[in-house]
């Protein structure tokens, strides 16, 4: 069942088109990663989903409702650099957030204590936020986003600004939360996405480059590849470029002395390359056959 359907969203700022006609669905209970390099339009997309930015065109429909309907009660949102009132205590902020989202005082108090304990801030609940560390602020940010039991949780780069320890903590929390609600989070790190998500929306320059379930993307992009590296030598370079035009090479990518070939016939490719390397006396440094990963796909999309 679809929780949210976005159709043909578009947003520009001045002359710059930030999001250029993207469509996607978010399934109830799924965890979706909005993946892409900086400037891909991830934050703008999340802000449109959160209702903070009006799309120039396109529709967002929540839970089968009318497009443009108000679903803010069912939404939890954590911006990239959450700005919490430093003069409040953690507990006060969570209660304030809960009440604004429509919980009554009693529910707010119960839920507030629950989420603060969950994110490990129970002992610090009465301290002023201005004295919190970056990781604690991020965890409090998660607590305020969760306190009203949102049906959709939108997180903008939740771990990007954290040190490895804080990152670990927040990732563990997300893994935990994943079972209760639908999560959409943006990141520029593929590894984070692979760690907890089951769906990926890969964005670049305001468009969706690829989207789908992680497993199917993985198998779809698990093509046989051969990676090669030679010593710096003009003959070697020429030979590599020649190889790229052979019939068994589907696609090639050069990065300095490193070359990656997507091939359709590994046996033939291996045989040809190795025998030619010997006969032409090419100083091979590295030869590897394997299959391409999502990392390759990501690099391809980002590099393009």
């Amino acid at each position: 069942m679809m929780l949210l359907e976005a159709t043909n969203l578009r947003k520009h700022f001045g002359k710059h088109t930030s999001v250029d006609g993207i469509s996607f669905d978010i399934e109830q209970g799924s965890c979706v990663a909005l993946l892409g390099p900086n400037g891909a339009g991830k934050t703008t997309t999340l802000r449109m989903l959160a209702g903070l930015l009006e799309p120039d065109s396109g529709l967002i429909s929540f839970d089968g409702g009318q497009p443009g309907g108000d679903y803010r009660k069912a939404l939890g949102y954590l911006p990239q650099a959450p700005s919490l009132y430093g003069w409040m205590s953690g507990q006060e902020y969570v209660l304030f957030a809960a009440k604004l989202s429509g919980l009554n005082s009693r529910e707010a108090a119960d839920r507030g204590a629950e989420v603060l304990e969950r994110v490990g801030l129970k002992e610090h609940a009465r301290r002023r936020i201005s004295g919190y560390s970056g990781g604690m602020k991020q965890r409090l940010g998660l607590a305020q986003a969760l306190v009203h039991r949102p049906r959709l949780l939108l997180l903008d780069e939740p771990v990007s600004a954290l040190d490895p320890l804080g990152r670990r903590e927040v990732m563990e929390l997300l893994r935990d939360i994943r079972d209760e609600t639908t999560i959409v989070f943006s990141t520029h790190v593929l590894h984070d996405a692979e760690e907890i998500c089951d769906h990926i929306i890969l964005m670049n320059r305001g468009r969706i480059a690829e989207q789908g379930p992680l497993a199917s993307l993985r198998s779809q992009y698990s093509l046989p590849v051969i990676r090669l590296r030679t010593e710096k030598m003009s003959g070697a370079r020429k030979w590599l470029e020649e190889l790229a035009s052979r019939s068994f090479v589907l696609e090639s990518r050069f990065a300095g002395e490193d070359v990656m070939f997507n091939v359709n016939d590994v046996e033939l490719a291996r045989h040809t390359i190795l025998s030619e390397a010997v006969s032409r006396e090419i100083p091979l440094l590295h030869f590897e056959t394997g299959s391409s990963t999502l990392e390759d796909l990501f690099m391809k999309v980002v590099g393009a």
């Binding site: 802000r47 209702g51 903070l52 930015l53 959450p82 700005s83 009132y85 304030f96 957030a97 604004l100």
Partner: protein, 257 residues
Amino acid sequence: MRSVWIFYQKEMLEAVRSYRLIWIPVVFILLGIMQPLTAYYMPEILGAAGNVPPGMLENYEVPSAAVVMVQALGQYSTIGMLVLALITMNSISGERYSGSAEMVLVRPLTPLAMVVAKWAALLTVLVLALGLGASGAAYYVMELIGPLSWGGISSAAGLYGLWLMCAVSLTLLFSAFLRATAAAFLGLLSAAAFSLAHSLLPAWFDWTPAALPGLSAAMLLEDGGALRLGPLLSAPLFIISCIAGAALLLRRKQLPG
């Protein structure tokens, strides 16, 4: 409605934590009581400074109680208004630029509710500060100079407060779409321009909120005076349009940049 109340409570808690609820009334009290004190002790002050030709102080007459009270309220149009602009300027703009507005507006809190709550919190601070300040001034005027009617004082202070609230509302409007300092500057400038226009062309601006300080003075000097309806109606309308404008601007641009 409930969200206005929740946000108002947050604003008041902030006013307490930042000591705003204390220092602004203190400034208003000091400003208020300074006027009767200096008016009454003027000969002593000048005498202590020395170099005053003999005989000059003999003709000094303490102004009437009503005049001193009017002067005391007049203090609030300069330093008082500056202080109010300073606390108002950051009100919306600070939250927009820091990103905390984003985190509350994503919840079911409308921009209008947020603006109304902020306005109400500013009104609370103003009422408290002006109430205490005017009472302090009135107390010293009555102790040192002469009697005044509390009815006249409160209506004069009320009219003055309405004028100050117009300036606060205007600054709040600017704060909804400008940076804090620009908001304060424009707010103060417009208030000054308004007053100037009124003093230059009283016939044209007689119905505007800028006539309120004059009306407030008349309450004390003419004992009741003629209460004109124009400024009394235009001021609330002006305030309401400032609030509505701020809410509209905030709705259109919830995020800076």
